[in-house]
Amino acid sequence: MTGAEPKVTLDLARETGLTADEYDRITSRLGREPTWTELGLFSALWSEHCAYKHSRVFLGRLPTAGARVLQGPGENAGAIDIGDGWAVVFKMESHNHPSFIEPFQGAATGVGGILRDIFTMGARPIAILDSLRFGDPSDAKTRHLVNGVVSGISWYGNCFGCPTVGGEIAFAPEYAGNPLVNVMCLGLVRADRLFRARAEGVGNPVFYVGNKTGRDGIHGATMASATFDEHAEERRPTVQVGDPFTEKLLLEACLEAMATGAIVGIQDMGAAGLACCTSEMPARSGTGMDVDLARVPQRETGMTPYEILLSESQERMLLVAARGREEEVRRIFAKWELDAVEIGRVTAGGALTARLGGEVVAHVPVDFLADAPKYEKPMAPPADFAERQAFDPLTLPEPADYGTALIELMGSPTIASKEWASRQYDQQVGLNTLVLPGSDAAVLRVKGTSRALAVSTDGNGRQVFLDPRRGAAMAVAEAARNVSCSGGLPVGLTDCMNFGSPERPEILWQFAEAIEGIAEACRVLEIPVVGGNVSFYNETSGQAILPTPIIGVVGVLDDAARRATQWFKGAAHRVALLGPESVSLGGSEYLWTAHRRLAGCLAPLDLEVERRVQAAVRAAVQAGLATATHDCSEGGLAVALAEGSVTGREPVGCEATVAAGGRADLALFGEGPSRVVVAVEPGRARGFEALMAESAIPWRWIGTTGGDRLVLRVGTRAVVDVAVDQVERAWRGGFERHMA
C-alpha cells in the first residue's frame, strides 16, 4: 500500500538534513535501519527549527521563574497571572524563511501559526504585533517583500478577527536577502483554565481536528534550518498556504470544546505537523501514541505516510479527549463545519506507532524523537570585532545644517511613520485597544476589570552587531521602558532570536553573548522569560543578517485609566529628561542615515539606573503627573522630542536645551539607554519634582511645549529651529513615499 519506498541509507539521511553522527545515533538506538517514514520523522524533529540543537545549551541561562509565571518555556506559549483571575498568554515566533520565498503566504501563515499557539492554551487571542526587518526600501525587490508581508499579515489577521496593535518595521541592507518576520500574539484566559500540549490517560482518544492535510509545507522545518542561496525561490512549495477563515472556525470550535471539560490536551500542528504533535505530546506525559494515518482527512489522493506525517498544512490541531466524551467533541466541531476524526489512542510504553490501515510504518520511542542531540559548537568573536568598536564617530564632520539633518532623520524609513502599514491592519476588533499603533507601547484593556496590558516589541540589530551582549540587554531595557512609559509594570517577556548560521563560530558567539545580555537584563529588571523562538540560518549566499534578538515585553496597568502616550497634548507643558546624559553615536540611526557607517561603541548601560528610571516613569504616570512620556531610542533626544511634537493628532511645537555644550550631533542624535522624555502640566511641576527627588535618578527640566516651531539648543545656541509642519511632513511621508 505504501508503494516502493526508497531504501534508507546514510546518503539519503544526509539529503534530508541529518548528519552521519545523528544517523548513527538513530540506528544504534533503534537497533536497525529506520524506515523511510521514520527517517522523515527524525529529519523534521531533529531539525534545528524544531529541536534547538545549537541553542538549547544557552537558553537555559535565561531566567524563567517569577511569582506571576503560570507557564514558562516548553509549551505552545507562556502564561502570566495578571490578577482578578485572568492570565495573559503570549509568544513570539519567526517566519523569516518562508516570507522571503513567498512574502504574502509566508507572513500570513506566520500570523496563523502564532494565533494557534495562543488558542491551544485555551486563550482567546486579543492582539498581534509584528516586528519586521527589510533591506533598503528604495530597492524594488524590498518593496515587493514589504508589500507582500504587510498584505499577508493584513489578510490573515483581519479575516481571523484579531487586531494588529503594534510592532515595528526597520530597514538595513543586511536584511535585503533575508527579511525578518517576527509575529507576537497575546491572548486572555481564566488563570485556572489553561490548557497544555499533553497526551495523558492511556486509552484516551486522539482526535485530528481542523483543515484537511495536503502536500503543502513538507519539509518546512528543514527548509527553515538551512541558509539560502540564489535558488531560494525554487523552494516555494515548502511554504504553507493559509486559510484564516478556517482558523477562525478552529478557534471558536476549540474554545467551545475546551469549555465542556472533554479536552485533556491539545497541540497545534505547526512545524513538522502531525509528526511533531504525535511525538511531543506523549513525550511530555510519559505516554505513547498509536495512530492510523489512513484516517487522517486528506485533500489530495495517494499521499504517503511520510507526506501525511510531515505535511505542514495549516489550521490543524491534535487533541486528546477524555474517553467516553468523543460525541461531545464531534458535535462541536460539526457545528463549526470542521473535521474531527479519531485517529488513534494514547498508549503506554512510550512509543509512537504510526500505521497505514493494518501496516505499521513507523515505531519509534517518543522520548528519543523529542530529544534531539544538543551541540556545543566552537565559538569565537568575529576577527574584526575590536575594529568595529574602535571607530570614533566624532572624527566625522558635523552636518552643515542641524535642522536639515533632523528632518532627514525623521524621514528615514526606520524612523518615519508606519501608518502605511498599520492602516491596513484592523486595530480595534474586540474593543480592547486603548492605545492604537504609534505610541511607545500598545495598551489593551481587560474587560470586566480595572486593568490593562501594555505591550511592546523592540530590537536593534546594529547595536547587537557592535556589541551583542550590551546590545541585547539594551533591547530588553528598551522594550520594558516602552511598557513602563505607557504606565505598565513589565511582568513577562518573549523573544525571537534571529541570527545567521550557528555553524559559524562568530555567529554562535554573537548568539551566546546576546543570550547573556538578555539574561542579565531580565534578572535586574525582574522580568521572567516565558517563551520564545530561535531562528538560525538567516543568511543568503554567505551574507548573514545583523544579529537581531527581538524582544516582546508585556506589562500590567492596575488602573487602565492611568496610562500615557508619547505625543505632547498641549502648549506650555514643561518637558523633563529622565535618565543619564551618556550617549553615543556608535551604531546610531544618525550615523547610518548621514554617513552610511555602522561602527563605534555603544553608550554604557547601567541596569540598576534603568530599573529606577522605569519605576520613576511608571510612578509619574500612575500619579497622573505626566501628560506625555516617550522613550529616547533611534535618533536620540532630538528625534524623541520631534516625535513628541508631530506624532499626535495636532502637532505641538517645543523648545528645549538638549545639552550644556559639546558636539551638537552627539547631544541631539546620540543614542543611549534609560532615557525618557516626560511632559508635565505647569501646575503639576512641583509634584513631579517631589516624585523625582524620591526616585533617586538623574533628571532635569529641558524645555517647554508650544508654538509651531521645534527649537533645540546646545548651551545658548539654537542649533535646530524648524517649523513643526515641515518635520511632520518628513515624518509622515518618509516611508510611505517609497511604497506609493
Binding site: N158, C159, F160, G161, T246, Q424, Q427, V429, L431
Partner: protein, 237 residues
Amino acid sequence: MRFGVVVFPGTWSDCDFHYVISEVLHEPVRYVWHRDRNLADLDCVILPGGFSYGDYLRAGAVAGKSPVVEALQEFVAKGGYVLGSCNGFQILCEARLLPGALMRNECLQYRCQPTHLAVENVETAFTRGLRLGQVLTMPISHGEGKYHADPEPLREMKERNQIVFRYAEADGRVTRAANPNGSLENIAGIVNPAGNVLGLMPHPERAAEAAMGGTDGLLLFQSLLGSLVEDGSFLKR
C-alpha cells in the same frame, strides 16, 4: 427593546455589538446562529462585521443566502429593525434588502482608520436623534467598502432620501480626500425605502465608549431606543 446579533461562521464584530448593547446600553440581547430562522422575539437584528463564510466567493454573497437572512425578509416586511455594519452592509446588499453593491476599495488595500460621516437623513429610526448635517466620527475596517449603484437606482435612492451617511471632512464638507475607499458620491450608509433597514460600512460599536475614542456610534442606538419609547416625540439634540 430586544436585540439579536447574528453570528455567521467568520463573523467577528458579534461580541463587540453584544458587549455594547448589554454593557453600555444595558438592553437585552442574544446571539442568533446563522441557521436560526426564529426572530419572533426580536425588535432589532444586527448583522455585524467580519468575513462571513470567509467572504471567499464575494463579500457577503454566501451569507446573503443563509437561513437567517431568508428569515430577515419577513422580519423586515413586518417592520422589524435591521442594522448591518461592515460585512453586515455587504450581506444586506447581497440579499437585496438594500440596493447597490460593495466592491474592492479603490486603493486595493484594506483600510482601518477613523472617518467622519455627514448625516443626510434624520427621518430614519436610527438617525432620528441626529441633526441634518451633523458630523459623526466612527472608524472603518474593510477591504471591500466601495459603494456602487447604477444611475437609475441611485436616482431612485436620492428621490426616496435613502442616503443616510456620506464620508466627509471633520467640518462636514463632502470631498474626494475624505473618501477612504472610492465609494460612489462618498456614500457610507443607506436605508431601505421603508426606513427600517440601515446598512453602513463604519463600525458604530467601535465608537460607543469614550475610552475607545468616541461615542458617536451610540447615537444610532439611542435614536432607535428613543424612537420606540417615545414614538416620534424623540427630542432632537
